[in-house]
């Protein structure tokens, strides 16, 4: 007899593969991966993160709603209690507070499982675009921390000159969240690293009516660093590569690794957000663009290995 279909639980982890479950619990992916497996697991994580984000938003909405209802129930209790001549209406207050706390705990649980968006907005599409360049016989070395700006990554917290505000406190998080080493079909290794510096500004200011208000602002500074490491010494069209770089946002560097000259390009992006950390990520096309220009700057690229 076949088992009846299980109801679909949106954030239950059992629906995912063991690798994805482990990645969600650890908020990290490490080790050596086959390309298709990695793309699949990243897809599962992307699905989980999208659903979890919606659940977080809903839980926050309900929390606020129940606290508002709890506040209103004080007046309702006073008025209806008088009219109906019963104290039972006062039970609404603890009921709404209880529901609000329940939803708040749910919100905090969802928030703790939140993953950085960059892997789904940037890395996964880039891997799909590069799929036919990656040597399927070899594995991709992956080191990803998907937890975003958490306490362990805090670098500094200090007051900065407030300007027009009363007080501004800046917290900086250093988040080198990703390094992938892609073995290409011609024997070259493409190393792609992503670093994020999160700036959180807690602002205290005076409103137009003189009330003190608090606001949180975020700035997310991303750097993608692509390095091409050929299997043996080759020549590079360094001048051509530098000409093709956008000097305001990109940097080109030739680096030496074990006697082999490698080429590296870095590109910078900045995103802003209020309240929550910005979920925007560097466009995957621009990251692949770094690798494309680097590979095309090889004077005589290695032969494709059959």
């Amino acid at each position: 007899m076949t088992k009846p279909a299980q109801p679909y639980k949106k954030t239950s982890l059992e629906q995912f593969t063991p690798e994805a479950q482990e990645a969600i619990r650890n908020r990290a992916i490490t080790g050596n991966w086959e390309l298709n497996r990695l793309i699949k697991v990243l897809g599962e994580l992307a699905h989980f993160d999208e659903v979890n984000e919606k659940a977080t938003g809903r839980a926050l909405g309900w929390t606020i709603g129940f606290f508002v209802l709890a506040f209103l129930s004080i007046f309702a209790g006073a008025i209806l209690g008088e009219v109906l001549n019963t104290g039972l209406v006062w039970l609404l207050l603890p009921a709404f507070i209880g529901l609000a706390i329940h939803r708040l705990l749910r919100y905090r649980k969802c928030k703790k499982m939140d993953l950085i968006n960059d892997f789904r907005g940037c890395l996964r599409p880039a891997l799909k675009d590069l799929a036919n360049d990656i040597d399927r016989e070899k594995k991709i070395k992956v080191q990803m921390d998907l937890s975003g700006p958490v306490e362990s990554k805090k670098k500094s917290k200090m007051e900065i000159p407030p300007g027009a505000y009363i007080k501004v406190e800046e917290t900086i998080y250093e988040d080198p969240w990703c390094e992938v080493r892609l073995p290409l079909v011609d024997g070259t290794t493409a190393v792609v690293e992503f670093d994020i510096t999160w700036h959180k500004l807690d602002v205290r200011k005076r409103g137009s009516r003189g009330k003190i208000k608090f606001k949180t602002k975020w700035r997310k500074e991303c750097v993608a660093r692509a390095t091409l490491m050929p299997p043996e010494s080759i020549q590079w069209k360094e001048d051509s590569l530098r000409e093709r770089a956008d000097s305001r946002l990109e940097k080109v560097k030739m680096v030496d690794k074990d006697g082999v000259t490698c080429a590296r390009m870095e590109r910078y992006w900045k995103f802003k957000g209020g309240g929550d950390a910005p979920g925007d990520a560097p466009p995957s096309r621009e990251v692949v663009g770094l690798l494309l220009r680097l590979h095309s700057a090889m004077v005589a690229p290695p032969e494709v290995r059959s």
């Binding site: 079909v185 093709r244 956008d246 946002l249 910078y268 095309s296 090889m298 005589a300 690229p301």
Partner: protein, 109 residues
């Protein structure tokens, strides 16, 4: 005869599978996978035609990347790019300029 359709993005190369026919536009020999519609994916991509096969999407994506970031002998290995590819590559990275509204210098910090 082996298939001469392009494969890859960074490491551009020929498909190499056994050919079963030729492209009706450029004449190059094609395998079963690249033969859909009688025209090779590159010719379809360059002509702006939509080919929803995997090979078609790959060719369209490659065309798009090369138009943005350039390619060809003045830039990479000439042997990697066919005459048709070079024609599609456009003026190198001319379209690749910054957005202009960012006054922040990333490498000063």
């Amino acid at each position: 005869m082996s298939c001469m359709a392009s494969a890859g993005l960074l490491v551009l190369r020929q498909c190499g599978q056994p050919a079963v026919g030729g492209c009706s536009q450029c004449g190059k020999s094609l395998c079963m996978m690249h033969m859909a519609g009688g025209t090779c994916p590159e010719c379809m991509a360059m002509g702006g035609q939509v080919d929803d096969s995997e090979a078609g999407r790959e060719a369209a994506s490659r065309n798009d990347y090369y138009n943005t970031y350039g390619g060809g002998e003045e830039y990479g290995s000439a042997s990697y790019f066919s005459q048709g590819n070079r024609g599609a590559m456009g003026p190198g990275a001319a379209g690749f300029t910054s957005t202009g509204d960012d006054d922040y210098d990333p490498f000063d910090t």
